[in-house]
Symmetry: C2
């Protein structure tokens, strides 16, 4: 069944009101009819099965038939701190990270970032990324769109992520492998979740790696091949969801 996102205030005990783009999509693109059924989610973790009642391009209403707890939300909470990459790559990273099960995304301006977002651009871009996260949830079956936060600097990000352990991926890592880190701190990660840092196209600077390490972060590599920034995050999230989350299930 098709999935749509609706803000929580538009859901009562029995009735759902769908407006904006989603209403337009149901009425004009999919040309759905009354009595057809859809699934809606509101970020609460619940999926609602809805029977459509009235349909127009501005407002679609429906009855709630049933409510079930969504089972596609991962048990492991991972925050991805992603070095700002060029336009399309960033879109791709957001989409894929949501599919694999990320919980929160913070784009970060890095020393070696090629892209700089100035003026009004960051806000527009972040809005776009949040819409993409919702779209990815609709497609992959998740019910809680991970927030994509404002683009930040490293100092800010370290404050924002102070509540849980961190891993920074650094290709010049001569430190312990990711495997050792996972095995030694498995319980901690399962209890608290974790934050992973992935650099932009040019990678992290040694100073940035040092700062994350000083803040208690562990440095890890991702094998002998040099992974592009949009590959590194996805590979890292896949491994973590396999080792600690629900990909192995």
């Amino acid at each position: 069944m098709r999935r749509f996102y609706v803000a929580q205030q538009n859901i009562t005990d029995t009735i759902v009101s769908i407006t904006g783009e989603e209403a337009h999509h149901i009425a004009n693109v999919l040309r759905m009819h009354p009595d057809e059924s859809i699934i809606i989610f509101d970020g609460s973790g619940w999926d609602y099965e809805i029977r459509l009642q009235s349909i127009s391009s501005r407002l679609v209403t429906g009855h709630i038939i049933s409510r079930t707890l969504n089972s596609a939300e991962p048990p492991l909470s991972i925050t991805l701190v992603q070095g700002l990459a060029k336009g399309e790559k960033m879109d791709f990273i957001i989409q894929k990270a949501v599919e694999v099960g990320v919980n929160r995304i913070i784009p970060i301006h890095c020393d070696y970032s090629v892209v700089r977002l100035e003026g009004k651009k960051p806000t527009a871009r972040v809005e776009r990324w949040n819409r993409m996260a919702i779209e990815a949830c609709k497609q992959c079956g998740r019910s809680q769109p991970p927030p994509v936060e404002m683009v930040s600097g490293l100092e800010d990000v370290l404050k924002k992520t102070a509540d849980r352990p961190r891993i920074i991926f650094y290709e010049q890592s001569k430190e312990r492998g990711l495997n050792d880190i996972i095995n030694q701190h498995r319980r901690l990660f399962l209890e608290q979740g974790l934050t992973v840092f992935v650099g932009p196209e040019g990678g992290f600077s040694p100073a940035e790696v040092h700062k994350v390490q000083e803040a208690g972060g562990w440095i890890a590599g991702l094998g002998p091949r040099i992974l592009r920034t949009e590959t590194a995050g996805l590979v890292a999230l896949s491994i973590l969801m396999w080792e600690l989350g629900d990909l192995r299930a």
Copy 2:
């Protein structure tokens, strides 16, 4: 140091001749000078360090300074049988599969494939994909570009891949998880490598899954979220390279 691909017949015991696009790139794009050094690879598994001698846009020559065995080639041999996906997605899949360490790629026409390549298109497309595989090797540090073979049908692919075990990813899988398959056949995979089947946008048909299973393939899922075709292959390869290859190193 920058990496370039050269055909084996252009390498003697002491001298390398570089022609075509790579020569143009060295001479006109990078504007390199005699006595600068580069790395070349020829698909043999060796990396050659070269000191440039003469440079023109049609022919670049250089002395071989040293030869080292490339360490970015994975110890595990995985063939990816990929359901034909739409243009850009397929490009992306090739690039990412090479980065993560695939050994061979066979695009396959599936029952639910949206894309059909007719006439001369398949040959041109396969040439393009092979160029992309070489480019990905240059970037990620590998020395043996995985061949991208002609687009085939399922029967052909089953014959071509009869020499090693197979896993087919199927989202409606109610079978054993990937974890069980890896644990029960770890030794077999390490000795023989394996072939993984990933469906196109519409997934595999039940008939296709049945055929692969009849040919001895195991069915596996990839967790509770519905992964897009271009995500599924990359996640599967990441997990297999982590469990059986060199990502954990």
